[in-house]
């Protein structure tokens, strides 16, 4: 059994209460959302669990800034929400459908996924590609940053004292797609790719490509995005993108796959996702 040290469970009524409880534990409390990661945590020092799923952070809304997703929204709620189905060519559903399995998605939250940010996970790759913004609050103030920037910092430390409130996914005039390779259904990724394109007058107006589980966490490939700008989307371009990725991408080995395999297949997945995104964008 994990989390052997837990003594108390708190049902926070709002974010303020959760934050003051968190401070009171002086590092020995943990925010509990879906709990699928916490349940596997080897930490024995946690004494108090602070459940935030009743603090009003479960929602999906749209406004001019983009799609706003409350941190405690479960992956299933998000997957089946009409707004997420329409967003950026349906990439949210495409990604979440490949995350774990239904029983887990029914409890796991988007906030938990953002904070845990496992290197092998799919959701961080998607959030980085989409340019998602994270908004959080500690006892003093509310802050925000792009998820991409956040992941370059010691973000886990931030969330020892803060609560992630929501994610804002900007509107895109174009389409994103997502692909992943796992060993079997419900497996974590051996490699994942999220790619998006916007077309103007038959040329690529913008491109965003993130590759994750390399085995490191999903990051964009700015050199590739630049290379694509202004080009006509066609098979040759995708082939060139594939070659470029195979040449330049940083990959590594772990016990699930070798760097060699990841290098080759990253190129393939980038070609496939770009071609598919372009195809969808034209329609």
């Amino acid at each position: 059994m994990r989390l052997r040290g837990v003594l108390r469970f708190h049902w926070a009524r709002d974010v303020d209460e959760a934050l003051s409880l968190l401070r009171a534990y002086e590092g020995k409390g943990a925010i509990l959302a879906g709990g699928v990661d916490l349940a596997r945590s080897a930490r024995t020092d946690i004494e108090g669990l602070i459940d935030i799923t009743g603090t009003g952070l479960s929602y999906v809304r749209e406004d001019p800034k983009g799609l706003r997703i409350g941190a405690t929204t479960t992956l299933s709620e998000l997957l089946f929400h009409p707004l997420s189905r329409e967003y950026a060519g349906g990439v949210i559903a495409e990604t979440l459908r490949l995350v774990a399995y239904p029983a887990l998605r029914n409890v796991a939250t988007i906030g938990g996924a953002t904070v845990s940010a496992h290197p092998w996970a799919d959701i961080p790759t998607m959030l980085v590609a989409l340019g998602a913004e994270a908004r959080w609050r500690n006892e003093e103030k509310e802050e925000k940053a792009s998820v991409e920037e956040l992941y370059k910092t010691q973000f886990r430390g931030i969330f020892r004292e803060a609560i992630l409130l929501e994610l804002v996914l900007p509107h895109w005039d174009g389409v994103f797609v997502f692909e992943k390779i796992g060993r079997n259904a419900g497996d974590i990724a051996l490699l994942n790719v999220c790619a998006g394109l916007g077309l103007r007058e038959g040329k690529i107006a913008w491109a965003r490509v993130a590759v994750g589980a390399r085995p490191e966490r999903g990051e964009r490939l700015p050199w590739l995005e630049e290379m694509l700008l202004g080009k006509e989307p066609d098979e040759n371009l995708w082939k060139k993108a594939e070659e470029e990725v195979k040449e330049r991408i940083k990959v590594g080995s772990d016990r699930r796959a070798s760097g060699e395999w990841r290098r080759e297949v990253a190129g393939v997945l980038v070609r496939r996702t770009l071609a598919r995104a372009a195809g969808k964008a034209v329609k």
């Binding site: 052997r4 390779i181 060993r183 079997n184 016990r255 080759e264 297949v265």
Partner: protein, 779 residues
């Protein structure tokens, strides 16, 4: 798929409701741990962190001070009795190379000490406080290392018995020549050779190993365990702890799966020893990680098959070499080794020149044991890939090649006599075989000829179809015995007491059907009780595909005797000879007069009225033959040539298990075995660190197929009629796992032209093979 049965029967051949279906579906407490005993202690085990080490000293003084700790056992305070953890018939064919606690540890996960405490927390704290000083020894993690000259000797203890060659780390060995193999290859027109490798894998039964041991009011030891072998537990615990057999009772409640992992006596002697020392009940339950690390695995194997054939496809020589890694202890090592040859080789009995040789080798890795298939899957992996290569080289259709060579009704193979259960076997003639029909139907269902001729290609996806054949046995000839007791109640219902252990297979239902058919009553009139060494007669247990055939025959004999007794009472009532009476539909009817008497009337008369006696019988069946079930497996796969991903698109398995007693359950056995086989083919492999510890000991890391991975599976039964089987039945439990790995490998070959011989066939391995092939073509 519907089954056409030879004779119209009332109960046998019908998909009756599973006798334990309702309580299972409604979550009734029926499993080992669903019993609370007041004052029970929790037992926990301390495992070795080293792959090979001597224990210099153990200091339990700090651990004993932990509040709630009742007892700590280790090599220093228990008797040393060599035994085998393999739950097999007596005398056990596996070496006695295990003791309860040893001064030496042989793998990461080996038992060092056991604690019983009031709570799990206290037990765990005590484990942390046991101070063990180890002298670490060099370890070997591959068969090659273990066999190399100068390798550390894993079993250097003097009191071990039955090890083939302990100094060379060989647990068991075999070399059986038939005819002249060298001459056979020399005379062959075509020769091919394949070497296939199956890695460490897990049974992954849903319910982890667990046990409760306590002393009853008469001071007898009761062991309630999730086991496949209650009677073997009783015998082995008696030996290890020196308690007479009559002072031990073993109860097997419902089991959440075993697949061979519970044909092993692992926790029971430990829990019993803790209960004995403390006088308190002791509960033990392993976590999934402990199951991975410290119970049993499949026998990893390297199997080399060389085939020689004449131009027309007739096999002339077969050499089969099997090198098994039996891990740190030799449980089931020799018998699994023998089975590689004894199950695979008779299938193609046209070859006159044979050689089967191999070894089961100790290493400092987890202990291999019994696993569904039991060597047959290892053997057919090599054999069926070699057959595919041979067909290609001969330019012959793989089905045609099998048809030309496979064993038929009325035929035999010298292998039956040469290879038995870790020793010589018994001659046997095949009395039923529908493999030809299985191949025909399977080919049709998968669209074999069309798909072989015109393989599909869609973008990067290449499609292919492949096949494999296999056979198994039904029980162990000359070893297995099962008994059944059938008792009539006065209302015309019956109690069927069997030592047979339904481990989720549905055998309680199958055995009830056999009794019901003979007695002319519906299954609901038979209450099945399995198994309890105090109340049910002996049965070898659930292994070797034996329950339907061996235990089923015992039930059949008992039922026939009870029927005879019923007719005797009825003849007293109806005042006419029993010969003219028919037992059917819950009553006895006179053929001559049409007069009838209900079973309830028969029961009441026997109990209370005249000539009073209990209508009951116990019958035994010892297994003089082991009729093999046969199966043909057809896989259609799609291979992504750019990533190496393989998808099984469709799987057809067609099997001859004689007359299926419960077709739906039999199909379920096939489907489950195919899914397990797909796991072996595509995902499953235990991985070890450089120090020999299991690194993927969770289902998060170690992937098994889930319902989302299961392709369209068509499981078809082609009935034959086995004259020695109960109502013509043979086994079905294991044969289904023998074919998926080679069938999928052969299908991949058909799709993309690369031979995968090292399971699992991961995207990485497939892509590497494709790139090697590209290079060869260019180079």
């Amino acid at each position: 798929m519907a089954v056409i049965l030879k004779a119209k029967r009332e109960v046998v051949g019908q998909n009756v409701l599973k006798v334990d279906g309702l309580p299972l579906a409604t979550g009734q407490p029926k499993f080992t741990l669903d019993m609370d005993l007041p004052g029970a202690l929790v037992g926990k085990i301390l495992y070795s962190p080293y792959a090979h080490a001597e224990i210099v000293s153990i200091d339990t003084s700090e651990a004993e001070k932990v509040p709630g700790v009742a007892c700590i056992l280790h090599y220093g305070n228990v008797p040393r009795v060599p035994y085998t953890t393999a739950g097999q018939g007596w005398p056990e064919p596996s070496p006695y190379d295990t003791v309860l606690f040893d001064k030496k540890v042989r793998y990461v996960g080996d038992r060092v000490a056991a604690v019983a405490a009031e709570t799990e927390e206290a037990a765990l704290e005590a484990l942390r406080k046991i101070k063990v000083e180890y002298k670490v020894l060099p370890a070997v993690f591959t068969v090659e290392e273990a066999l190399a000259p100068g390798a550390p000797i894993i079993h250097d203890e003097e009191d071990a018995e039955g090890i083939y060659d302990a100094k060379r780390n060989i647990a068991a060995a075999v070399d059986v020549p038939i005819g002249n193999i060298e001459k056979g290859f020399a005379e062959s027109d075509v020769v091919v050779e394949a070497t296939c490798e199956l890695p460490y894998s897990q049974h992954a039964a849903m319910e982890p190993h667990c046990v409760i041991a306590y002393f009853d009011e008469d001071g007898r030891l009761v062991i309630r365990s999730s086991t496949q072998v209650p009677f073997h537990i009783r015998r082995v615990v008696s030996r290890v702890l020196g308690i007479p057999i009559h002072r031990i009772r073993v109860v097997k409640p419902r089991i959440g799966g075993g697949f061979g992992s519970k044909q092993e006596i692992i926790l029971e002697p430990v829990a019993a020893a803790l209960a004995l020392r403390t006088g308190r009940p002791v509960k033990m339950a392993l976590s999934r990680e402990e199951v991975f690390v410290s119970t049993r695995t499949i026998h990893p194997a390297k199997v080399r098959v060389k085939l020689g054939a004449k131009k027309d496809g007739t096999l002339h020589a077969i050499e089969l070499e099997a090198i098994l890694n039996t891990g740190a202890y030799g449980a089931h090592g020799g018998t699994t080794l023998y089975n590689v040859g004894s199950k695979a080789l008779p299938l193609y009995n046209k070859a006159r020149n044979l050689r089967f040789h191999g070894k089961a080798v100790y290493t400092n890795l987890p202990v291999a044991g019994a696993y569904r298939g039991y060597g047959a899957n290892q053997g057919f992996f090599g054999l069926e890939i070699a057959m595919d290569m041979l067909a290609e080289k001969l330019g012959m259709d793989p089905i045609e090649l099998r048809l030309r060579n496979h064993i038929r009704t009325g035929e035999t193979s010298p292998i039956f006599e040469k290879l038995g259960e870790g020793r010589e076997g018994k001659p046997q003639v095949i009395r039923s075989c529908a493999l030809e029909e299985c191949l025909r139907i399977g080919a049709e269902r998968i669209g074999w000829y069309e798909k072989r001729r015109n393989p599909r290609r869609k973008g990067p996806w290449a499609y292919g179809v492949g096949l494999a054949c296999a056979m198994q046995g039904s029980g162990i000839t000359g070893v297995d015995m099962a008994a059944a007791t059938l008792i009539m109640n006065e209302d015309g219902s019956f109690r069927l007491l069997v030592g047979a252990t339904d481990l989720g297979t549905g055998s309680d239902t199958v055995l009830a059907q056999i009794a019901a058919e003979v007695l002319g009553v519906p299954v609901e009139k038979i209450s099945v009780y399995s198994s309890d060494t105090d109340f049910t007669p002996f049965d070898k247990g659930a292994y070797a595909s034996s329950t339907t055939y061996v235990s089923g025959n015992a039930v059949l004999k008992a039922a026939e005797e009870v029927k005879r007794q019923i007719l005797e009472v009825a003849s007293e009532i109806l005042e006419e000879p029993a010969e003219g009476l028919i037992l059917a539909g819950g009553k006895v009817v006179s053929e001559r007069t049409g007069r009838e008497v209900s079973l309830s009337e028969v029961g009441h008369r026997a109990f209370y009225v005249a000539n009073q006696r209990q209508i009951a019988a116990t019958a035994s069946f010892a297994c003089p033959e082991s009729p093999p079930p046969f199966a043909a497996f057809f896989a259609e796969v799609a291979v992504d040539t750019e990533t190496g991903i393989v998808r099984v698109e469709k799987f057809v398995v067609v099997a001859d298990c004689g007359q299926p007693i419960h077709p739906k359950l039999a199909e379920g056995q096939l489907e489950g075995a195919v899914v397990q086989g797909i796991g072996h083919a595509l995902y499953e492999e235990m991985l070890f660190s450089e120090r020999g510890s299991t690194v993927n000991s969770t289902f998060f890391d170690y992937r098994i197929p889930t319902v989302l991975d299961v392709p369209e599976i068509e499981a078809i039964l082609v009935p034959s009629d086995e004259p020695t089987g109960p109502f013509g039945a043979k086994s079905i439990a294991e044969v289904g796992i023998d074919g998926p790995v080679p069938a999928i490998s052969n299908a991949i070959y058909h799709a993309v032209g690369v031979r995968l011989t090292r399971a699992p066939f991961t995207p990485e391995r497939i892509l590497a093979a494709l790139r090697t092939k590209d290079k060869e073509r260019k180079g």
